[in-house]
């Protein structure tokens, strides 16, 4: 049974290609298959043409063999090159995952040691020192967030994002998130409003991943707000889908940046506002993995609206 499983895994092209984290056309196994089909096709075509124009069967055989041999050598060279490229991509993704995981321990130790000092566990802190401790705390929190986002990103790229679906009330998930973000919103002088269809049905989805996806949108909406800001979240049913919308009155995304907004580490030319540059990439990946779609509209100095839909089932 184990051998059959291994054989099935070897023949499972999408699974084999996912581990390299490259597009299908760069996947060595896929290229091997395509080159094989081309070689067989070329050999058959050469034979058919040869039998039409050439009488000597040995000459036909020689032509077919030479053509097949030449194509095979080209295919081998191309395949080896792409295999090296794919392996480099896989090693890079695994490296990010391993390093991020290894960094968690020292960053947690640092963060908790700072918590302990700031709480006065080792004696009272002077006023003049408090500002520096706040800087240390802020930056250790930034490192924790970056490591968390890097780990999620590497799982997405390995095709290993864990999805555990259950019947979920999105209303409750969003309500709970809005409540969690209230302190951050208040500190940023932003008001969050949430409206929803009372009769919204529960949907089959992963509440943890939805939470991560919406957290990133809410975090951005607050960060990029200006002056006294307002964020409006709306949840409703549209046909077979659940429709989510988050509208802010923030700085907006410049036109020239909009096509890059879902890319990893891309930061819009708008004011530098913290964050890891991975949030929207993660949100898009999660929504698409859950069978949904995400898009946005934005105007500079007016604000941005992010939308996504999720299937009911």
């Amino acid at each position: 049974m184990m051998d059959l499983k291994k054989i099935y895994y070897q023949l499972n092209l999408p699974a084999q290609c996912r581990k390299y984290n490259v597009p299908l056309w760069q996947c060595p196994q896929f290229l091997f298959l395509i080159m094989g089909i081309i070689i067989i096709g070329a050999a058959i075509t050469a034979y058919l043409i040869g039998t039409h124009y050439i009488e000597d069967p040995q000459l036909i055989a020689l032509i077919v063999l030479t053509l097949s041999g030449t194509l095979f050598i080209f295919a081998y060279i191309i395949n080896v090159s792409f295999e090296k490229l794919a392996e480099a991509s896989r090693i890079r993704t695994e490296f990010v995952r391993i390093v991020s995981h290894q960094l968690r321990s020292p960053v947690t130790n640092l963060s908790w040691a700072i918590d302990s000092l700031m709480a006065g566990d080792l004696g009272r802190i002077a006023e003049s020192q408090l500002e520096y401790f706040k800087i240390l705390k802020e930056n250790s929190t930034r490192m924790k967030e970056l490591i968390k986002d890097l780990l999620i990103t590497s799982r997405i790229e390995e095709g290993a994002l864990p999805i555990k679906k259950e019947k979920v009330s999105l209303i409750e998930v969003i309500k709970s998130l809005v409540s969690e973000f209230q302190p951050f919103a208040r500190a940023s002088n932003v008001e969050i409003g949430f409206s929803f269809d009372e009769n919204l049905p529960k949907i089959l989805t992963d509440p943890q991943q939805i939470k991560v996806a919406v957290e990133n949108l809410l975090d951005n909406a607050i960060r990029y707000s200006q002056r006294k800001g307002e964020i409006k979240i709306r949840l409703e049913r549209k046909g077979d889908d659940i429709y989510f919308e988050i509208k802010d009155s923030g700085v907006g995304i410049p036109q020239e940046d909009q096509k890059y907004i879902f890319q990893k580490f891309f930061r819009s030319k708008s004011k530098e506002k913290g964050g890891t540059g991975l949030g929207l990439f993660i949100t898009k990946s999660i929504i698409e993995k859950l069978g949904g779609k995400i898009w946005f509209e934005s105007e500079e100095d007016k604000g941005t609206i992010f939308y996504f839909t999720l299937p009911k089932k």
């Binding site: 321990s105 960053v107 963060s111 908790w112 709480a119 555990k164």
Partner: protein, 122 residues
């Protein structure tokens, strides 16, 4: 005075928790690996065990299993305190009898202390 055994191989964390928990009036007994942690737990019968998972000599899951098998230690509440956040680890720890599972990066020191106090007050 309530006794807590902290099974954790990171000395920096041992130091931080020593200061924190002593200030709150708890007695904290450190263990730097799974084997000595298990031995101490059976000897001292603490009121609470804080348990990391990636430990030298004996893995946290093995320690948890042994503690829950032993009649002298099976009733002691155990907080798993780790950086591993995969759902399968969480489920496994709870199945093996952990009282709660905390991912270190997701909690501040104060929040961990609140959880400890809540469990010890029961």
């Amino acid at each position: 005075m309530k006794k807590i055994i902290f099974i954790e191989d990171e000395s920096a964390l041992q130091e931080t928790f020593k200061n924190l928990l002593r200030k709150e009036g708890y007695e904290i007994i450190p263990a730097m690996d799974g084997e000595s942690g298990l031995k101490l737990a059976k000897e001292k019968k603490p009121d609470l065990i804080l348990l990391d998972l990636i430990l030298p000599k004996l893995h946290g899951f093995e320690v948890l299993k042994e503690l829950k098998k032993d009649s002298g230690t099976k009733e002691i509440p155990i907080i798993v305190l780790t950086n591993l956040e995969n759902l399968e680890y969480v489920e496994r720890a709870l199945e093996l009898g952990a009282t709660t599972y905390l991912v270190k990066t997701q909690y501040s020191l104060e929040e961990v202390l609140e959880k400890i106090k809540k469990i010890l007050s029961k």
